[in-house]
């Protein structure tokens, strides 16, 4: 019943954020890039909840709820953009979208 669990929660959040960032940088499929962005947002929410658990305040979970709303709006618009890109270019490879022809 001892041990600094909230601090370890921050460490797990940092590791998840690093994994999401690595996914954004490494992958070239836009679906994977969007999923990695979701992983990073989730890591941010985990950090907020861990901080709220450390101080016993509700503000951490409120920040997590707001991050959740942001993630929902972001993923809906992002997936709409992916559908549009797939319809227009016929691929979901991010390197193929490098040239914008008006």
């Amino acid at each position: 019943m001892s041990g600094p669990a909230p601090e370890w929660g921050l460490a797990v959040a940092a590791a998840l954020l690093a994994l999401g960032l690595a996914g954004v940088l490494v992958r070239r499929n836009v679906i994977f890039i969007l999923m990695s962005v979701e992983i990073m947002l989730n890591a941010g929410g985990l950090a907020a909840v861990a901080a709220g658990a450390r101080w016993g305040q509700a503000d951490g979970q409120i920040l997590f709820v707001l991050v959740l709303a942001l993630a929902a709006a972001e993923v809906s618009v992002g997936l709409g953009l992916i559908l549009l890109l797939h319809r227009r270019f016929g691929t979901v490879d991010a390197d193929r979208f490098s040239e914008m022809r008006g």
Binding site: M1, A5, A58, L68, G80, R87, V92
Partner: protein, 183 residues
């Protein structure tokens, strides 16, 4: 609680590593779901049961379903039946199922044990969160609703297929900047 916390964290991190290294999007989504469930168990061990419930319902429930819909729509057409037959192989769902089973055993053990109590943890109940959310944070809730409305309108506008409704509604535009139009 420490063992549960570290086990759930290890499962979440392992599932995330598997999710960002898969080549098939559906495999990655299965591991992504397991990662979100692991983070939900981490929330529970941190005393944030309300956040854990929201994580399962909204993240693993709603957002991942959007991903699955889009992946299915993009793979529409050729060799769809062969792909689905390939997805039903045990080698595909064994890994995520094993990790999810470990999480299930862990959450059952947690629920069978006493309430989460920890030296450095102060549990925050849903009542406190709701009171704060609709008290001092009311403006933030309203702004979040505006953001969700903007996301809804934007997703509808982007996802609309203009090739099918050329019935005069788009004729008034100058043309050229309507999304969905083929180049």
């Amino acid at each position: 609680m420490d063992a549960a916390f570290f086990a759930a964290s290890a499962i979440a991190l392992a599932a995330t590593v598997m999710a960002i290294t898969r080549t098939d999007a559906v495999h990655a989504l299965l591991y992504f779901i397991v990662s979100l469930l692991g983070v939900a168990v981490v929330f529970y061990t941190l005393g944030a049961s309300f956040a854990a419930v929201l994580e399962v319902i909204i993240y693993a429930g709603a957002i991942v379903v959007l991903f699955v819909f889009v992946v299915m729509m993009l793979n529409l057409g050729r060799e769809a039946a062969a792909r689905e037959r390939g997805w039903l192989r045990p080698a595909m769902w064994a890994g995520p199922s094993l990790l999810a089973l470990l999480l299930f055993v862990e959450i059952v053990a947690l629920l069978a044990a006493a309430a989460p109590s920890h030296a450095g943890i102060h549990a925050v109940e849903a009542r406190q969160v709701g009171a704060a959310l609709f008290g001092p944070y009311l403006l933030a809730v309203e702004l979040a609703s505006m953001l969700l409305l903007a996301g809804l309108v934007g997703a509808y506008h982007l996802g609309r297929d203009d090739r099918n409704d050329r019935d005069g509604r788009n004729s008034g535009r100058a043309g050229g900047h309507a999304p969905g139009r083929l180049p």
